[in-house]
């Protein structure tokens, strides 16, 4: 009886999953003979990586895999951990809820668009994961989401399971609406100054403390009526309890120092200072607090509050023992974060592996996902980029991007796909519903220069996003 059942199970398994017949399961791969930049143990020449069930199973020479396992010959090519962008707004339908100064109730998770083409473009630059953040319109913005760019998969497979939750805070010009002109009859939103910004943040934490107290009293049966489930204050309580990481946008060092002090006053630690182009001025204080910093590789003086920055910001922070990552905050720059890492070597001379870590392991640490990704180590997710040459060369291209052992970008395949898509498009354009009206018709929308820049479109605060 039992034998029959087992037999039937095997038969049905074979019927459902033809891949089992050839011994290949999802997430199995063998990469042969690559130059592997591990981000933890230096660079290994002529090395193989065996991937099983989406995890890195072995790293070494002369590795073999079962029959039917895809083998990629990486002779002459470089392999790095998949790049992680610690500040992105890719695949997000709305970025800013700019109406209120505190919008901790909003969730980027609600806004994920798995068909945003920026995802594919990021993959083409070797990026496998990102922290998707609310914009910088408010002192306290929305709840963030940490994703892997599993292009083509259902949206619920993008968020990284077990990644600690996060939230966006912001300081400075964007928050005090320096560049927004109120429309006639519109009341300017408080806060209008940097000191007002700090007041708003402190006030929110005081309210969160009271809210937490109300719930604690209820749970201890000191009160009879259950308090309101407050979407705004609930995430603030999670910050106070150390369960939610704060990623705080800011440029001026005095403001970033202030947010570290507020955190210390309320007994929690800031996760990252975002941008922090002046953070080199307070590098020892940041190191002492234990916050990470996620910077642009350059962009010095691009706006007034970024005026004092230098290309050496990353180097100075690194020298002081701060965990530094380099982010894109842009659908365009996300495709070339490898070159931004190279700039760390050029300006100040950060060693090669530490520069690479600024776009791989360091952001993984900042997002709290370094236990599973960010370096080429046995047991970690097989999140891997394969490059035509050294990834710090502007002549190199990312040829293949792999997440958990699955290939999500393949440059060779992309080339053949281009022809297919061009043909499909030409055919679709001939259909009646896709043809321009014979006469009349509405005026088509002509793109403006603004559309092509940073995430200004869909940005409720009218630009100046990053």
């Amino acid at each position: 009886m039992r034998k029959t059942t087992v037999f039937l199970t095997i038969v049905s398994l074979l019927m459902i999953s033809p891949t089992l017949l050839v011994g290949q399961s999802k997430g199995d791969l063998l990469i042969k003979n690559a130059t592997v930049m591990t981000a933890t143990k230096g660079t290994l020449e002529g090395t193989d990586i065996l991937v099983q069930n989406g995890k890195i199973a072995r790293i070494g020479k002369g590795l073999t895999a079962g029959s039917g396992v895809r083998t990629i010959d990486a002779t002459g090519k470089y392999v790095t951990p998949g790049i992680i962008d610690a500040h992105s707004h890719a695949m997000v339908s709305a970025i800013n809820e700019g109406s209120l100064a505190v919008t901790s109730m909003t969730r980027i998770d609600d806004m994920l668009n798995p068909s945003d083409i920026s995802i594919y473009r990021a993959l083409a630059g070797g990026v496998t994961g990102a922290l998707l953040l609310h914009g910088s319109a408010n002192p306290i913005g929305g709840q963030s989401t940490t994703v892997k760019f599993k292009w083509g998969r259902p949206v619920n497979e993008f968020p990284v399971a077990g990644a600690p939750p996060g939230i966006k805070f912001a300081l400075g010009e964007n928050v005090k609406r320096s560049s927004s002109t109120p429309q006639p009859g519109q009341t300017p939103r408080y806060p209008r100054t940097r000191m007002g910004t700090m007041e708003v943040i402190r006030d929110a934490f005081i309210r969160a403390r009271e809210y937490k107290q109300a719930w604690d009293d209820f749970r201890a049966k000191k009160t009879r009526v259950q308090p309101r489930i407050d979407e705004e204050l609930q995430p603030m309580v999670e910050i106070l309890e150390g369960k939610r990481k704060v990623h705080c946008h800011g440029y001026r060092s005095d403001e970033h120092l202030n947010i570290l002090r507020i955190a210390e006053e309320f007994g929690f630690k800031i996760g990252t200072l975002q941008h922090g182009l002046e953070a080199f001025k307070i590098a020892p204080e940041i190191a002492k607090h234990g916050a990470g910093v996620s910077i642009f590789a350059d962009s010095w003086s691009y706006k007034l509050e970024a005026y004092d920055s230098t290309p050496y910001t990353g180097y100075v922070l690194w020298k002081n023992g701060v965990n530094v990552s380099i982010n894109s905050d842009s659908a365009e720059r996300i495709r070339r974060l490898n070159l931004d890492a190279a700039k760390m070597m050029k300006y100040g001379g950060v060693p090669e592996q530490d520069s690479l870590r600024m776009i791989t392991l360091n952001p993984a640490i900042q997002l709290g996902i370094d236990n599973r990704t960010g370096s080429i180590d046995v047991g970690k997710d097989a999140d891997i980029a394969i490059w035509s040459g050294h990834p710090f060369s502007s002549l190199s291209l990312c040829e293949m991007t792999i997440i958990e052992g699955e290939v999500y970008f393949d440059r060779a395949k992309d080339k053949t796909m281009r022809e297919q898509l061009a043909k499909e498009k030409a055919d679709l354009e001939k259909l009646e519903m896709n043809r321009a009206p014979g006469s009349g018709g509405t005026q088509p929308r002509v793109p403006t220069e603004r559309d092509r820049g940073h995430y200004s479109h869909g940005d409720e605060d009218g630009g100046h996003e990053r």
């Binding site: 339908s93 800013n96 005026q443």
Partner: protein
């Protein structure tokens, strides 16, 4: 005074069309009868008496007192149902009840003052942000009167789900019959459902989709809590502070108790997924309205048992060719090409769906859309079902409308020609047993001439330059409309201090024009719809935005 005269003349026209009163009996003989609930009768009689279907069959004889119509060559269908419409609901003026401007807050302390300010401005004492008025009942918004429904009824529609027009919650909808002199006599079922649209309230909270979802969560959390508190207080009020009364939250009790469905307006896959997620999160009985990409999510719809009020307003390119514009994306090209195949795929997957007009400018689009769905793989029978009994089932009224059965409400349409063809003509429409008869007009000669039955008459030319003043409260906004008309299509620009906006979807209407445009205000892009009526050198109308409707007046420049 003038509007009264206008109403009187409308009323006169209506009486002309409505040739008899209910109570009388009719027999339609020698017709093909598509009962929908049973087999089609190739040649038979339907008897209507006292507003109900008295009898139907191949061998039914007309009663002696009945007015008899010989309908040889015609087909009788159950009256068509528009499963999602705004029929009878006037475009609201800015001000009380509407989602007027003002700061609101879904949060706690920080937003209280803003919410109070918003409430003051919107004339409501609600504790919730603008756009969150689930207590609004569409029956209080609908205006009765036969003439409102002329175009739809003449095309064969007898029943519609009527929904509010604005807000994230657009109020509680009702199923109405499309004739009657009082809202109470027109009502078939009310309230039917709550309605949620993923829209924003520019200039206030929620000003982005992010906030829309957060504010939705907060109001559902609060409704659940208030209901529990009210129950606890009712059981034992001693020693407990009395819970607040809150009509917005109380309106949601039937929804959180799964006694009333929530209709989510969601068209593309992304939106439908978000709606399905939200239904799951709050354990709601859900329905999708729009649903043109619902065919991509049949597994989820099935698992959650969610029907679709499918819009027949199929997407098509309206923009003129231009070398300066970016080429259209593969996504939009595919969407337009695949949409007509969607209904067939939904039927294949066993998803319940009904057809709706989906805000189409011309009701003729409903029929051409249904025809395209049939070309796209849906059976004719299934298409007719989605226009009648299928809709009645989803709307919870299949025991009284949607099929031709003795005892049901006498909502019937007699159609000459092919239902999905251009020669379609509804000669007799019965609503609650009242007959509305149409005389077939001679077909306009020449190319581009369209048959009657919802088709637009040859339009006057409304091209030209208009100087208008938009009545923004406290800040009238001057603007100029530059309109060019070709056929019934209108193109051009709208110029104001907010910039120059090209207009889209422009059409000449019976007495003026309508078009859409996008204006920049407060850093946000706001989609507006403008409807104007032209009378000599004067123009008046409304600018419809997510914030509500703002009237405008002006002159046509010579």
């Amino acid at each position: 005074m003038r509007s009264k005269l206008l109403m009187l003349s409308f009323a006169a026209i209506c009486t002309f069309f409505s040739v008899a009163v209910s109570g009388q009996s009719y027999a339609i003989t020698n017709a093909r009868i598509v009962t929908v609930s049973g087999a089609t009768i190739e040649r038979g009689t339907v008897v209507v008496r006292d507003g109900l279907i008295h009898s139907v069959g191949a061998n039914v004889s007309p009663p002696a007192d009945a007015t008899v119509f010989d309908a040889a060559g015609s087909t009788i269908y159950p009256g068509f149902i528009d499963a999602a419409s705004n029929l009878g609901v006037p475009a609201p003026a800015a001000g009380p009840g509407g989602g007027g401007p003002g700061g609101g807050g879904g949060g706690g302390g920080q937003a209280a003052a803003a919410a109070a300010a918003a409430a003051a401005q919107s004339g409501s004492n609600s504790n919730y942000p603008a756009g969150f008025r689930p207590e609004v009942d569409v029956l209080d918004l609908i205006r009765a009167g036969d003439s409102q429904f002329d175009a739809n009824r003449n095309a064969g529609f007898t029943t519609a789900l009527s929904m509010g027009r604005t807000g994230i919650f657009s109020g509680q909808s009702a199923v109405i019959n499309l004739a009657g002199n009082s809202v109470s006599s027109m009502t078939v079922k009310a309230p039917f459902a709550h309605h949620i649209s993923f829209v924003t309230i520019p200039g206030t909270y929620p000003g982005s989709l992010l906030g829309t979802f957060s504010a939705l969560r907060q109001i559902f959390n609060d409704a659940k809590r208030l209901q529990e508190m009210q129950r606890a207080y009712a059981a034992d009020p001693k020693g407990m502070r009395r819970p607040e009364t809150d009509k917005s939250l109380e309106a949601l009790f039937p929804v959180i108790n799964r006694q009333m469905p929530v209709v989510f307006s969601a068209n593309r896959e992304l939106e439908i997924n978000r709606a399905l997620d939200f239904m799951k999160e709050y354990n709601l009985v859900g329905i999708i309205a729009g649903g043109q990409e619902a065919w991509k999510l049949t597994d989820r719809l099935k698992a959650q048992n969610v029907p679709v009020l499918l819009s027949l307003n199929f997407p098509r390119r309206t923009a003129a060719a231009s070398p300066d514009a970016d080429p259209e994306t593969l996504d939009i090209l595919r969407f337009r090409a695949e949409t007509p195949k969607g209904p067939g795929r939904l039927a294949q997957a066993g998803i319940k769906f009904a057809f709706s007009s989906g805000g189409a400018t011309s009701i003729a689009d409903y029929f051409s859309g249904a025809g395209k769905a049939v070309e796209g793989g849906l059976s004719r029978d299934a298409a007719i079902r989605a226009m009648t009994l299928g809709a009645a089932e989803i709307l919870g009224v299949s025991d009284r409308v949607g099929s031709i059965e003795a005892g049901k409400i006498a909502n019937l349409v007699v159609v000459k020609g092919d239902l999905f063809g251009r020669d379609r003509f509804a000669s007799h429409v019965f609503v609650d047993g009242r007959l509305f008869e149409q005389k077939e007009q001679p077909r306009p000669a020449g190319p581009g001439g369209r048959g009657p039955g919802g088709a637009a008459p040859a339009a006057a030319n409304f091209g030209g330059t208009y100087t208008i003043s938009i009545d923004v409260p406290g800040q009238p906004l001057p603007a100029t409309l530059n309109l060019q008309q070709q056929g019934t299509a209108i193109t051009g620009t709208m110029v104001s201090q907010l910039g120059t906006s090209p207009i889209s979807n422009g059409r000449a209407t019976g007495n003026g024009f309508s078009f859409s445009a996008t204006v920049q205000f407060g850093g946000a892009s706001i989609d507006i719809t403008v409807q104007g009526a032209v009378s000599g050198a004067n123009v008046s109308g409304t600018v419809d935005s997510p914030q509500g409707n703002i009237p405008f007046t002006g002159t046509r420049n010579p």
